[in-house]
Structures are given as structure tokens and as C-alpha cells.
Symmetry: D2
Subunit: 155 residues, 4 copies
């Protein structure tokens, strides 16, 4: 069931957990990039895709897994301390990046103010040969639907 | 705002993410214990407590942090392979364990069948001296409310 | 190159890192079970096995991956607070557990005193059918070599 | 005991573990940034500093913790698939970034070829007020010693 309102899959929420912090009392940095990837997965799901359409599920895979989407670059900026129990809003901005690539920017807000920012860039490759290939059609549909109605925008 | 229906804070959900798996294609084991702790945190929150009442928030703590609740024991059993995108139900069973201690059992189900089980046991200690002490009153209230209406039960 | 002195692969070391802690200032519990698995991997390697003999390496696997060794149970006890920079000694005690199964106990010490304990139990299964099978021969050799010279012992 | 040969603390090693991978069979991306932070910690230690001089150790801290070094930016590039058991070399390039800041670049190599790259940028802040301040003297010494003998270089 495909949603047609991008707000439903590009505007997510997350609550910070105790294990996300370190002995300085605030978010240990790399968890933010984990959150970015998990937000991307949640976005695909809320848009209407199945995880098994996109992600390999190992040796029990019934059909061969054709296209992998490895991360080729990621980055993050940290603006304000993030603490256990913080309720964060996550705004996603997915974009194509040339043939066979795309990136997802994630802006993290608390009470309307920015606290952090992350970006993950993926490239489509043939899962067997590891040569570059086109994006899977379902990812293309999600990318197009994500820009419809929103017009050009930036985080 | 305190809820009075334990179903609301003892029956949770979780979707498995790609980063929770390993190269065997299924859940990498120790993430299940992370899920147990996060489910406990979510339960306290849904019951009506603030994270800052229970968890230390570091150097900016305005009032001294009095009682820590370190994990003294944990265990987990794995029944069926758990894969990316699986929608899991989590049933929590919190219990007091003598003076100043409690444990939370977590049963993980998929489509009504058990896939895994976890348990975390905590002890209350004075955060400065690290000597054993009574459970914080708010944890006691959550433990009592968690057994009300449910009667004795087991996972 | 197979070592024949179990001390070389059953007596390991680990230094605690900042990201292993949480806002209470000490080890966040589930990392200890990650350490147990990593210590097991290091032990196999120091004994003389290749990771690719034991662990799946994904879609580029040249020969089919035959036997998976999923974790079916794990547990841990926490005795003393563990902090960033602590130098820990890890003593491993591997044992067969019936046909097609084994477990590895890990005792963590600091300055000769116990600070924590972990246990991981594995079962051998056919990677395609997921039915129980015999342990891979190389794991059996490591298990036998791990008990030679040591005699019966306990952690 | 302070070392005076930067090769000893800027040239490290790491073996990839099974739990670092995901169901695509290779490194799950964000662990590389964990490795970067852990490599920085190892570098400080091999240079001759104590963790407790640099990192907070929680409520039992005997002297007040004065200067925190939060991560303000991080990024990573992924060049080749990284698998369980890979032996990686890590080359560190620490640099001051204006007053009160520094960054550490980490190049990951396997068999002499580049497989990945990471960067973490820190800012010194007063741990109580969270206002910017000078770098701790010990970090300054490590930064200076890290550039001595090496001359200007780049990864």
C-alpha cells in the first residue's frame, strides 16, 4: 500500500535511549549515523516498500539478491548536546546523485531547533559482480515520490 | 500523566533494522539485549515517568543524581532467526527481586510465535558511595502498577 | 599455522573504550557480550584458523557456506564498575555441549580481580536447511586443543 | 612514559569482527567511525596519556572534569568492501583546527591499498558551562608530538 503524502515518510520521530550516551552524559557521536540509516529504512517502509525488496536477508533468500546499495560516504554535524529521553524530530531529504546513486540528508530537531544533521550517500551495485548499476525501480519510485509536492527544498 | 492500564506500557513493538543483522543474514545476538533495555526505557516513559527522573544526564545535571540502577545480570535465548524488517511484539514482565532489586523479562514474538527472550536484572545503589539502597520510589510505583490487574503471570 | 599452547588463545586482553560507557560513567552492559564474541573470534584466529573458515562472508562467498553457528543463549554477570581505559584480562573456557553444540565462558579481570563474566552458547546448523548438524571439524579441533594441557578447570 | 616516535602511536592495526558486518556480508558503515574514535583513544594511550586525563569517568570522578572534547563533525568514505577477519592498518593524521579544536583523519588500508577513510573533528569546551575553551595541555602535547619528525603530510 503506497502512501502518497511524503510528510508521512519524510517526517519521523525518535527518542534517545540511555545506551546511546557515553560517560560525558550526552549522545555518543556515531549513533546519530545509525539513526540516519534506521530513519531511511523506516521511510521506505512508511512509503510502502517491504524490507525484503531492498535489503538482503541472508542464506535463506529465495530469489537471488540482485542490487546492493552500499554506503559510499557519510557525514554528520553535532550542534547541541543530545540527552537520554530527548524527543527528536527527523526531517529527511532524499535526492538522486547522478546515475545509480542517491543520498539522504537527515535533520534532527528538538522543540523546533536543530540539534544535529546527518547524510548518507549510497551507490547501486550488482550484488554478484559489485559493478555499478541502475537504482532498483522501487528506490526510484520512492525518490520521485519524495520530491513530488514538496518542490525543491533544502534542509 | 500516569497511565493505569499496564497493557499500554508492557506490550510494545519493534521493527528489526538492517544494522541489527550480521553476515549470516540474521540478528546479531547482542542487539536483543539492547532492545530489552530500550523496551524497559520505553515502558517507564509510557507509564508516565521522565527519563531524567531515572537516568543520569551527565555534568549538566542540576540536582545530584542519587540512585543508580546498574545491570547486575542479563541473559537471552534465541529461538528462531530474526531478519531485517521483522515486526516484533515485545511483552514485558517486571518483578521485584528482593530489597533494592528488580528484573524485567522480555518476550519477543512474531506473528504470535516466540522468537526470542531476554532478561535484565538491576540493583539500586547510591550513586556516590555505590552501596546498595532502596529502589527509587518511582520505580517502585511502576513495578506495583505493572502487577496490578495482571495478577501473577509468567512469560 | 596451528599454535599448541592454549594459553596463547585462551588468555586475551582488552582495553575499555569511551564509546563502551553510558551516562552513568561506566560500561553499558551489553557491550560485554560483544566483547565475549570478539574474544571468541580472536581465540580462533590465535589458534590458527581463518575467519573465512568459520564465518560467512556474504554474496561473494566463493564456496557455499555450509555450517552456521548461531548463538542460542547468552548471559552475563557484572561484579564491579568498568571504566574507560581499564585494561582487562579475558580468560576463556570453551566446552562442548552435547552433539553439535558448544559454549564459551569468558571471565573478565582487572588487576587480578573479577569484574565481569559472560557466556555464549552456539549450535551448529546446516546453513541452507537450518537443521542441526555436527560441529565443523575446525571448531572441534579448537575445542579439543583448548582442553589439552589444561585438564578440567572452571572459571 | 611518553614515547617520542610518532610511528608508534599514529600507525595502528585492527581486525574486523563478525558483529561489524551486516546481512550484505560486509562492514556495516557506521562501525568505521567507531573504529576512528577507538583508534584516537589508542593513539593517546600509546603516546603516554591516561584515559582518565582525557575522558570523564562518571560520578566517581575524584577531581572535577574540566574540559570536554565533544565531536562536532565526522565523515567517512568507503572504497572497497571490508569483511570479517580483514586485517586493517590504520594511519592517523591529527591536526589542530583553529583555537580550541582539532581533528583526526584515519586512513584504513588492507595489504597496502586504501579501503576506507574517516575523520572526526573535536572542539574543547568547559564541561560545566559548555563554552569554548583552550585544548587541554596534554592534547596539545600529543598534537605537537604527532607532527614532529613527520613534517607536513597528507593522507
Amino acid at each position: 500500500m503506497i502512501s502518497n503524502n511524503p510528510e508521512q515518510w519524510l517526517h519521523l520521530e525518535r527518542i534517545v535511549r540511555f545506551g546511546d550516551t557515553d560517560a560525558a552524559g550526552v549522545l555518543h557521536f556515531h549513533h546519530l549515523l545509525r539513526w540516519c540509516h534506521e530513519a531511511w529504512e523506516e521511510s521506505l517502509e512508511k512509503y510502502g516498500l517491504n524490507s525484503s525488496d531492498i535489503f538482503p536477508i541472508g542464506f535463506q533468500q529465495q530469489e537471488p539478491f540482485l542490487v546492493a546499495l552500499p554506503v559510499v560516504h557519510c557525514e554528520a554535524d553535532f550542534r547541541l548536546p543530545i540527552k537520554t529521553g530527548d524527543h527528536l524530530e527527523i526531517l529527511l531529504l532524499p535526492e538522486k546523485t547522478g546515475t545509480g546513486g542517491f543520498q539522504v540528508q537527515s535533520k534532527f530537531q528538538r522543540g523546533g531547533g536543530d540539534v544535529g544533521f546527518g547524510l548518507i550517500r549510497h551507490l547501486a551495485i550488482n550484488a554478484q559482480t559489485r559493478e555499478r548499476c541502475d537504482l532498483p525501480e522501487k528506490i526510484q519510485l520512492w525518490l520521485e515520490a519524495s520530491s513530488v509536492n514538496l518542490g525543491p527544498r533544502s534542509l
